[in-house]
Amino acid sequence: MAESRRTFLKQSAATVAVVSLPSCAPAGAESPDALAPATLRAVGEAVLPEELGADGRERAVAAFELWSEGLEPVAEMPHPYLVPVTVYTGPDPRPGWAAQLSGLDIESGKRFGASFAEVGVPERRRILEPHVRRAGPDFGRPGNAAHIAVALAAHFFASPIATDLCYGRAIAKQQCRGLAGAGDEPAPLPGAAS
């Protein structure tokens, strides 16, 4: 049962990757500080559902990394309806997120004498809690997240995979699905309790 759900998650990883595209940033723009992979994965273990399993979480973190590489700071957004202004997304959040990851390591060292990735999930959550509390209760857009932990979770929970897992059904939101079948109750996910 758990295995079929894992298979579903694996197949769905491609879907997450589809929305993670190369950046439109001009060539030669300075690349932001990289997000420390081990610490990012340790954050993933703290904020992503355990039911995804290690593979599922790894895919969610990898999808986030790909997404974050494609992020273009200060990109034009759709115009607000009937408001004659041009609005833009915010500045590049990645240097701040990278600094937060190294901050997590430093804080973990000071509190627990080990890096963030080396301490247990409860200890990680104690460190993350004030940052997550400040952001809540809604996830908001991942690109607007003030903290990397919220960005990572927001990215996953906004995905079609997360919706399908929540409902235990193959809804496949925003995937081009054809009109046939629109009137059917979405099929249960293999192994999911509905």
Partner: protein, 526 residues
């Protein structure tokens, strides 16, 4: 020296109204046609898969650079100035107005009658629906009158909307599928809808956008298109009230004027820029602006207001199956005799509001991983959210006005438009009754399903705006006649949104298109 371009008909603006006029003239006449659009081209159909993906991932504009920096006004206006106009972004909801919309003064003693009836416009509604390709479900004929079937079968109701229709049937209010300019069958070389659910940008071409029509006409060499070319003035022939030229410049050569000469000029520049250009074109004979000898240009700017809300339903739905389809009722747009005036539509959608994943529980406790999932599941297992919204008719007034704003100028020093929308006193007087009635109807509907209202909102945004060059038989109170011909200039037509008398309680663009086609028939005669 100006570059001079001559044609029989010069259409100013490249939005959906312009597309309708250009297509009809190209098919029914031998006339040479130029289309002049201030903006450039934006994402082609081939590029929309990629821009859609970035919109989904990053919230980016799927039509980047679809506006002209500095060419912008104040008030409720579209920022888009691009080939295709605002209808590149549109959702494609295309209800007709109701017969009552054209006769509110005669029937209810408020507002203004149009110089035409629903029956006069009906053939053009059908033609507009066929040109763009409309998929629709015939509603009860008394609320959805039409002489011929919709061009295509309706978009299917999702499982969610089927459940919601069972509920509205039980409540005794007839709802049917919203008509859409989205294909359910291959139409004019365009694809069938694939339920991608990002209709602001459609990656398949199933949603009608006006660039398709322009591309077809260009391929057939039936129009000449001058995009990135802003018209700054319309100019009279000497000693005559006829328009002789439209003068402007290409964005890439701002120092080289371009002059368009034509027998007939069609102003299809949308609800704000049409009145703006007329006012900007003032001269010694028309010191208040062209077509403005009776001071009506820029007046009676209008749109509809709405009340909306979210309903908690005691049923399991699966948001995301097809959120871009919806249920529609025009039951209260044709209400029969009324003690106090209120006409409105009702739309219903599936919604995720109040039922999204969240970071913290109601008691403020931070949720982690599996807890987020458990909380999310608990809030979606046996309850769901529906969104409800009613557009209602706002009575226009001459004080609702577009003027030139000397304090805001574009790069060429031209004053930009300023729109101060105002609702007629009748609407303001009726507002408490309107809100009480609408929220009461929402509440009744909610209770019919054993549900409850989660929240409500009233909006005074003038949606689907129009006006500024309203049509009428009397030149003292209108700018154009029923065909869109200006009373002051026999070879100048204004088409679409600016010419409406009132904006009813239904999305307006299909009506703008029908009016444009009706004007095109008259233009063809000249």
């Amino acid at each position: 020296m100006s570059q001079v371009i001559e044609s029989d008909v010069c259409i100013i603006g490249g939005g959906i109204s312009a597309a309708m006029v250009a297509e009809r003239l190209a098919e029914h006449t031998e006339a040479s046609i130029t289309v002049v659009e201030a903006g450039g081209r934006t994402a082609s159909l081939e590029e929309r898969t990629a821009t859609r993906a970035r919109m989904l991932a990053y919230g980016e504009n799927p039509y980047p650079n679809d506006h002209i920096p500095g060419q912008t006004g104040t008030g409720e206006m579209y920022q888009s100035m691009v080939l295709g106009g605002a209808a590149m972004h549109w959702g494609g909801a295309v209800p007709r107005y109701s017969p009552e919309d054209f006769r509110v003064r005669s029937l209810y003693g408020v507002g203004y009658d149009w110089p035409i009836t629903f029956d006069d416009l009906e053939p053009y509604y059908q033609e507009a629906e066929e040109r763009m390709g409309v998929a629709g479900e015939q509603g009860p004929p008394e609320y959805d009158p039409r002489s011929r079937p919709y061009p295509m079968p309706p978009l299917p109701l999702s499982w969610n909307l089927e459940r919601m229709r069972e509920w509205t049937d039980a409540a005794g209010i007839p709802f049917w599928t919203q008509p859409w300019a989205r294909n359910t069958e291959p139409w004019q070389g365009r694809n069938v809808c694939q339920r991608c659910d990002t209709c602001a940008v459609c990656p398949t071409g199933a949603k009608y956008t006006p660039d398709f029509a322009f591309d077809r006409l260009l391929a057939a060499a039936r129009i000449r298109l001058y995009d990135r070319t802003l018209i700054r003035s319309l100019n009279l022939a000497s000693g005559s009230d006829r328009i002789e030229t439209a003068a402007g410049f290409h964005q890439d050569a701002p120092d080289q004027p371009v002059e368009f000469r034509a027998r007939t000029f069609v102003l299809a520049a949308g609800h704000s820029w049409s009145s703006h250009l007329l006012l900007l074109s003032a001269n010694s004979r028309f010191p208040n602006g062209l077509a403005n000898s009776t001071d009506n240009v820029g007046r009676y700017m209008t749109g509809h207001w709405f009340a909306s809300g979210f309903i908690e339903l005691p049923m399991r739905l699966y948001p995301g199956i097809f959120p871009n389809n919806s249920l529609l009722s025009h039951r209260f747009a044709s209400p029969g005799p009324l003690d106090r005036y209120l006409r409105h539509d009702i739309r219903l959608w599936e919604s995720t509001v109040g039922r999204e994943a969240r970071l913290a529980a109601d008691d403020g406790r931070v949720l982690w991983g599996d807890e987020v999932m458990a909380d999310w599941r608990a809030r979606t297992r046996s309850t769901a959210t529906a969104r409800i919204r009613s557009y209602y008719d706002v009575i226009p007034t001459p004080e609702s006005r577009l003027t030139l704003d000397p304090g805001m100028r574009n790069a060429h020093g031209d004053p930009m438009p300023r729109i101060d929308y105002v609702a007629g006193q009748a609407t303001l007087d009726l507002e408490p009754h309107t809100h009480e009635t609408l929220l009461g109807r929402f509440d009744e509907l909610a209770r019919a399903a054993g549900g409850r209202m989660m929240s409500t909102r009233a909006s005074r945004l003038f949606e689907h705006p129009g006006g500024g060059c309203r049509m009428g038989d009397d030149p003292a109170t209108s700018v154009v006649d029923r065909w869109g011909r200006t009373h002051d200039h026999e070879n100048l037509f204004v088409v679409g949104a600016p010419t409406i008398v009132s904006s009813g309680c239904a999305n307006g663009t299909l009506t703008f298109c029908a009016l444009s086609l009706m004007a095109a028939e008259e233009i063809a005669k000249s």
